[in-house]
Symmetry: C2
Subunit: 482 residues, 2 copies
């Protein structure tokens, strides 16, 4: 037998240094590694598997709402980007340019896509002729590149993976409806599958997508009180349709510009999943998204091993029949204690321990990752009880995250109060805003926080602007943000 591996995966406590906790956790849980290209990461199998689970769930939702997948080119000719002025200004500083191929210089530089509105806009102008071709509802799963100055694994990397939906409609009303519908799809997914409560709202003009008429976002709160934008949906108006000549002949025989939308969710959602639920023991994965929901750990001396393994295998079968994703770690050169730590670090929602004394008593021991609670369950009931427990963990994790978000959300009547809320108390601040860009900029300068969004459903209305004191046009969530 090999010497027992020491459990050396100590993680910096969240209270000591949240950023170090984050890096420790994702590294030690084996989700990623740094790539030898500036700002890029490698998604290791355990990290990529989470993205695959997210893709499957989202993809089903997109298809259920009538969207189909397609694939557009990675490269975007410079002239295309220049057609939408705001768009190119917004993305230019982050664009990598292909200027030569083999030994030859290209006549026109090609950008590596930061997003695909332009090239898709061009294609839509070829495909859309009549109102019969509308709505056109397409999604793309792809890699995109934005050369960020400061990078952080999953949250902000030079290359990342995402989906980008691009739709075209005959009327503004229909396009706006699509924009909101997809925000709802994101909300439903993030809340019910990832157990992350979000705040839905509209971005202020200074925070909207370059080229959009209106940008909507869902904002989530991390355990350090910072915000993470989990998904965005843009109503692009006729902006891209005019730049790329997406016109159609309407029922009334008039040529009109289409109204387009785009919406995206990326691998940065993995960062939210980790920072909303993780604790000092490591990851915590909600059962619905966890690639492994239950880890079975056989216990006891060599002489009872065969008997325990036989019973454990029976339980595995029963769980698999109940559609539970279960794995067993029966390695003999690692202690149960080491394994307990390891699978807590990896965030597996439930641990099942089974030893000879459990067998004698006709029971198994279950341990919840979220609460740490342990309970014994009769062997015959293991599958049904686990199915119920996984449901309970799923809803508890959401409720816990929601309670945390509420507890750390406060109203701010002044910039000083706002600064205290976002900095010392580490939370979100609800404040009034007069609608003036300068006031929003002042809040940012004085507090380090940015406007997250103007919530659809604010918990309170505030009648004066937090910066200038004039009457408020909007109620805004401010927070420091990733």
């Amino acid at each position: 037998m090999a010497p027992e591996k020491e459990f050396v995966k100590a993680i910096t406590p969240q209270s000591e240094d949240f950023s170090r906790w984050y890096i420790d956790t994702i590294t030690k849980a084996d989700l990623m590694d740094y790539a030898p290209v500036r700002g890029c990461i490698v998604f290791k199998p355990d990290g990529y598997e989470l993205w695959e689970a997210i893709q499957q769930d989202l993809d089903r939702r997109f298809k259920a709402t009538g969207h189909r997948n397609a694939y557009f080119p990675l490269f975007i000719p410079e002239s295309f980007l220049e057609k939408e002025k705001e768009h190119v200004e917004g993305f230019n500083p982050e664009l990598p340019w292909v200027t030569e191929v083999g030994g030859e210089k290209l006549e026109e530089r090609l950008a590596v896509r930061p997003t695909s509105e332009t090239v898709i806009g061009y294609m839509y102008s070829q495909w859309i002729q009549s109102y019969r071709d509308l709505p056109l509802l397409i999604n793309q799963w792809a890699n995109v590149v934005r050369w960020e100055k400061r990078t952080l694994p999953f949250l902000r990397t030079s290359e990342f993976l995402w989906q980008e939906g691009h739709t075209a409609h005959a009327t503004e009303e229909e396009a706006r409806e699509e924009t909101r519908k997809m925000l709802d799809v994101y909300t439903e997914f993030v809340e019910s599958t990832l157990c992350i409560p979000v705040i839905k709202g509209q971005k202020t003009p200074s925070e909207k997508f370059p080229g959009a008429v209106a940008t909507y976002s869902i904002e989530s709160m991390m355990k350090d009180g910072k915000a993470l934008q989990a998904g965005t949906s843009h109503y692009l108006g006729e902006n891209f349709a005019r730049s790329f000549d997406i016109q159609f002949l309407d029922k009334d025989n008039e040529r009109k510009f289409a109204h387009t939308t785009s919406w995206g969710m990326s691998t940065r959602i993995l960062g939210a999943l980790i920072m909303v639920h993780g604790d000092d023991r490591g990851l915590q994965l909600p059962p619905k998204i966890a690639p492994t929901q239950v880890i079975v750990i056989p216990i006891g001396p060599a002489k009872t091993r065969e008997r325990v393994l036989a019973a454990a295998n029976e339980l595995m079968s029963a769980l698999q029949n109940a559609n539970v994703r279960v794995k067993m770690d029966a390695r003999v050169d690692l202690s149960p204690g080491w394994k307990f730590n390891e699978y807590e670090l990896r965030g597996i929602p439930l641990r099942l321990e089974l030893g000879p004394r459990d067998l004698d008593a006709g029971q198994a021991m279950l341990a919840r990752r979220d609460t740490g609670a342990k309970l014994t369950v009769p062997l015959a009931d293991v599958a049904t009880q686990i199915v119920a427990l996984l449901d309970d963990i799923q809803s508890s994790m959401y409720e816990r995250a929601l309670a945390f978000q509420k507890e750390h959300s406060k109203r701010a009547q002044s910039i000083d109060e706002l600064a205290t809320i976002v900095r010392q108390e580490r939370g979100f601040a609800l404040a009034g805003w007069c609608g003036n860009d300068a006031c929003e900029a002042l809040v940012k300068e004085k507090t380090g926080s940015t406007s997250r969004n103007i919530p659809f459903d604010p918990p309170a209305h505030i009648d004066h602007c937090v910066a200038c004191g004039h009457p408020a046009q909007h109620t805004v969530w401010y927070a420091r943000a990733y």
Copy 2:
């Protein structure tokens, strides 16, 4: 009611011009469009859906053989590519280079990946320390770029989609076994799911992957007698391990270089699917891969419409319960004839027609896309008969393709014979080869064909080299190739 749409999707017959037939078919079946970037295409929803079906099937096979997915960066630093001399020489002419970002020039140029051995080799050198870390079995689904001089949709595009498996092993034996195992996985998939018979074999040294010790391929025959390499698997020996220092401490306490493999299948397989099965009416999709297996077309005048639709919906439910992928086209402004043509063009394996007279007779009409055969089936038996028919179509399509391949494969005793076989008779030629590169080059020069592979299981052994007449070391398949 709108005026009936004319069926204007005439396709150039294969016998007249196979290349035009191909372009007509993929365009009119709406699989792709040309992108505004040189040599790139857009995968339209109907084309991308086929790739998604291929991905799902292959991915299941990779996971069943112990592989996990991961994701590595798109960009490869120039210095990495230069570490493996043969590799960089092979890919250099086709590499797009990112030289600047935003307004700034990069210190080191970044290639857009043509394949990922180098960057993955580097990561493996970080991850592999001990024999316990082996084998390392990883696959990546990704886009890659090779700036080809001559491009053809799906078959050869500047950017394409693929999977690339990359594994590392403790011994040569194990790595060679993996290389052959993955070739078998490809073979099983291509033959049983896509109904495409293949020839398994080893590439000659001049045709092997740059940097590999040995390359194995599966070669398929298109309806114009040209070959298409459907998948490749490479034993890389210690080449990349030495370039990237992938060393491990073995059980015997000695540091050794790992033996690595790589293997890939790309969207060019869509080209094979189309050119192996398609005919003058358009696509023919094997039932296992067809996103829609049965198209239901209600027939008859307006007054019987409600009754027919009710019965058609019942059949749809019965088929869905039998796990048949079925759709109905109940549009009233298009004639049944137009629809028959349309779904034949799109390659749907089975058509179900249902009209009032069918209902009176208690039956439905089925039409096979592959043979054109029509048969009537009692309504109560529709689901069971269709399940059986889809199986029969699946095996018939394979048998038909295999018969075609055999019919167009001949032995060549001389270069003239070989030229006749590959050019006039449009087929594959089996010939002897002395093992000399010059002889292989001569065949290419004189006949326009290239060596496809040295089959594992040649139908005959030929004792002299087709070029020089000296004793043959190998029996080789030659063909013109995509």
